[in-house]
């Protein structure tokens, strides 16, 4: 066991395995990229020739334009609401003295763990009853609920990364609760809030199941449109649209990663 050669071989083996897992995770997602440049009129792999015609078709498509607009119209406010409520919940549950904080924290992230179809089936009749099925308000509510845990998790982690002494200090220095939040807490948790917002928006931008249940052809989002197209017209325009979606999502996650990094710089003398 202590043979260094054996250890070397073992560590190479582990590295190779890790690389394989990564390839397995990423490669299927990337298969879509060559497909989108296909010269063929249906989805086939490998594509017979190169062309940009599907990106052109995508750019010309009124359906896609409306869907992208819808996705943004739903995603931005949903991310905003999720950020506000998720941050407030994290403040209450991490810094507050509520009884049953553990249980409440578990409830907060429940929507993330429960199958989305359950929530969708539950929301559908309620929204029908409220008369907001198919409207922006309906899908906005649904996405806010589902995106809130993402913000809750990132902000709670940011709050736990430093001792509450900073807030106590601010108060003794004359800052009331609002000023303490504005000038001390918020700047300290800012990376967590921004990363949470990006996650929330990326989530809404990609979400399909609730979109199927809660939107109608006028309010449908990009994922729903893609899904509908997949059902009856298998042209590479889907691939082109998917690649655009992929690029948008990946760049948002990259921004989030950069912010999470700057936030990871520990303040001096954090916890006591």
């Amino acid at each position: 066991m202590t043979d260094p050669r054996l250890w070397r071989i073992l560590s190479y083996g582990i590295l190779a395995f890790a690389v394989l897992v990564l390839i397995y995770l990423v490669l299927p997602t990337l298969v879509i990229v060559p497909l989108s440049f296909s010269s063929e009129t249906f989805l086939s792999f490998p594509p017979p020739g190169f062309s940009l015609q599907w990106y052109d078709a995508f750019a010309q498509s009124l359906d896609y334009r409306i869907a992208i607009l819808n996705s943004v119209k739903i995603g931005l406010p949903a991310a905003l609401f999720a950020t506000v409520f998720g941050t407030l919940a994290a403040l209450a549950l991490v810094r507050g003295h509520l009884p049953g904080r553990r249980l409440l924290s578990a409830l907060m992230i429940a929507p993330l763990i429960l199958p989305q179809i359950v929530l969708a089936i539950g929301l559908f009749p309620i929204m029908v009853k409220l008369g907001i099925i198919g409207s922006y308000a309906g899908i906005l509510l649904g996405h806010t609920v589902l995106a809130m845990p993402l913000v809750f998790i990132t902000v709670a982690a940011a709050l736990k990364s430093y001792a509450p002494t900073y807030e106590l200090a601010a108060m003794t220095l004359g800052a009331n609760r609002w000023n303490t939040f504005r000038f001390v807490t918020l700047p300290m948790i800012k990376p967590g809030v921004i990363v949470g917002f990006i996650f929330a928006f990326a989530f809404s931008f990609d979400e399909l199941i609730l979109a199927i249940f809660l939107t109608n052809p006028a309010t449908r989002t990009v994922p729903r449109l893609l899904w509908e197209h997949l059902n009856y017209q298998m042209t590479p325009v889907i691939a082109a649209a998917t690649v655009v979606l992929l690029v948008i999502t990946l760049s948002m996650l990259a921004i989030a990663a950069v912010y999470a990094r700057t936030g990871a710089r520990k303040p001096s003398g954090a916890a006591s």
Partner: protein, 377 residues
């Protein structure tokens, strides 16, 4: 901070008396079944430097937190210059507080940190800049205003925390182990600085520390705390020379504390006590009937001179430790087997005793104190 600069005549009267008179009346804090602070009453004079020492978990930070306002007492009142402040939120109390880890805001520069309390008070920009500059000068950090706290040394951060807590001229400064994170030399230097600073401002200070020497060196009066209770309050000298119980005696310095079984009074405030395990001693009956005898190490005479004292015992040296011009002996008394500690300064020609050597120890009866409580071990 700016006490002596640009005061108008009416301000001079206030400047005479900058510190607040602080009175605690039956202040108590319980957390469910845990009592963090037993009913505590205490009066701290205006301009006084008051230190609180005690072991970990004894309730020091709780008392300070209640004073600062971020811990709500379960009962009791706190009066500042006669007015009850229990219902006043921390941000309206106008006290300064220095935390052990300084709690400097990492996202603000040094100048922004010091300016923060002024900003919260709506002080105009120009005046703010001026007062921050003066505060920086006072703690000798001119030119470092644009740095981030993380770019400063521990001692510099400590100074910034002090400047920030004092820049708005609070009447009361609370410090919770402000020097705990510094090394010994820097700590001593900062002790002097804080003391000078306090004298210049005339501010009342409540200072919590683990370090008894620090407390004794800085405080006008100090309190020793245990299990949420103030065991004894007094000047550093009073507490050292006239401890009321075994805990206080053992906490300060390295007293010899011996158990006694029986005491009978003598004339003039003295008593005869029988040591557990045998032997009689004469001592001061300071707090009535006590169960323990306390003798300070510098009062114990070792060697032939001991024969001249009131209480003489034959003993064996167990340990001899030399440090910087003084020597400390651990001696075991014959018969009763109790251990006493002696300490005195040495001269270069003095021959030290070795462990195992036999000798005589003794002390004057006025140097032995009969105190309350049962010695440990």
């Amino acid at each position: 901070m700016n006490v002596h600069a640009d005061l108008t005549p009416d301000h001079k009267v206030i400047a005479e008396k900058r510190g607040a008179l602080v009175e605690f009346g039956g202040v108590t804090k319980t957390y469910g079944p845990v009592t963090a602070l037993r009913p505590t009453s205490l009066r701290i004079e205006a301009g006084e430097f008051f230190a609180i020492i005690g072991p970990s978990g004894s309730g020091k930070s709780t008392l300070l937190g209640i004073t600062a306002g971020f811990i709500v007492p379960s009962a009791g009142m706190i009066r500042i210059d006669g007015a009850d402040i229990v219902a006043v939120p921390p941000y309206s109390r106008n006290f300064g507080m220095v935390f052990q880890n300084y709690a400097l805001f990492p996202h603000m520069t040094v100048a922004e940190n010091i300016g923060f309390p002024l900003r919260m008070r709506g002080v105009a920009k120009a005046e703010k800049a001026e007062r921050v500059a003066r505060a920086l000068a006072m703690v000798r950090l001119e030119g470092l205003g644009d740095r981030r706290p993380s770019e400063l040394s521990g001692g510099q951060q400590q100074r910034v925390a002090l400047a920030r807590a004092a820049v708005y001229d609070p009447l009361l400064l609370l410090m919770d182990e402000p020097l705990g994170a510094l090394d010994k030399n820097l700590r001593e230097e900062m002790q002097e600085e804080i003391k000078k600073f306090q004298k210049a401002l005339g501010v009342t200070v409540i200072y919590v520390t683990h370090d008894q020497q620090e407390a004794a060196a800085m405080a006008d009066r100090l309190a020793i705390m245990r299990n949420g209770r103030l065991e004894q309050i007094g000047s550093p000298r009073e507490l050292y020379e006239r401890p009321q119980n075994v805990f206080v005696a053992g906490f300060l310095g390295e007293a010899s504390i011996l158990p006694v079984t029986k005491t009978s009074p003598l004339a003039g405030g003295f008593a005869v006590a029988e040591l557990a395990g045998g032997g009689n001693v004469e001592a001061v009956a300071s707090t009535g009937v006590g169960e323990a005898l306390c003798i300070r190490p510098e009062c114990i005479v070792v060697g032939p001179d001991a024969e001249q004292t009131d209480n003489v015992f034959a003993a064996q040296v167990e340990e001899a430790v030399y440090a910087n011009g003084s020597v400390r002996y651990r001696l075991r008394l014959d018969g009763s087997g109790h251990v006493v500690n002696a300490r005195f300064s040495t001269r270069p020609d003095l021959v030290l005793m070795q462990p195992g050597q036999r000798t005589k120890v003794g002390w004057a009866r006025r140097d032995g104190l009969l105190i309350e409580g049962r010695p440990e071990t």
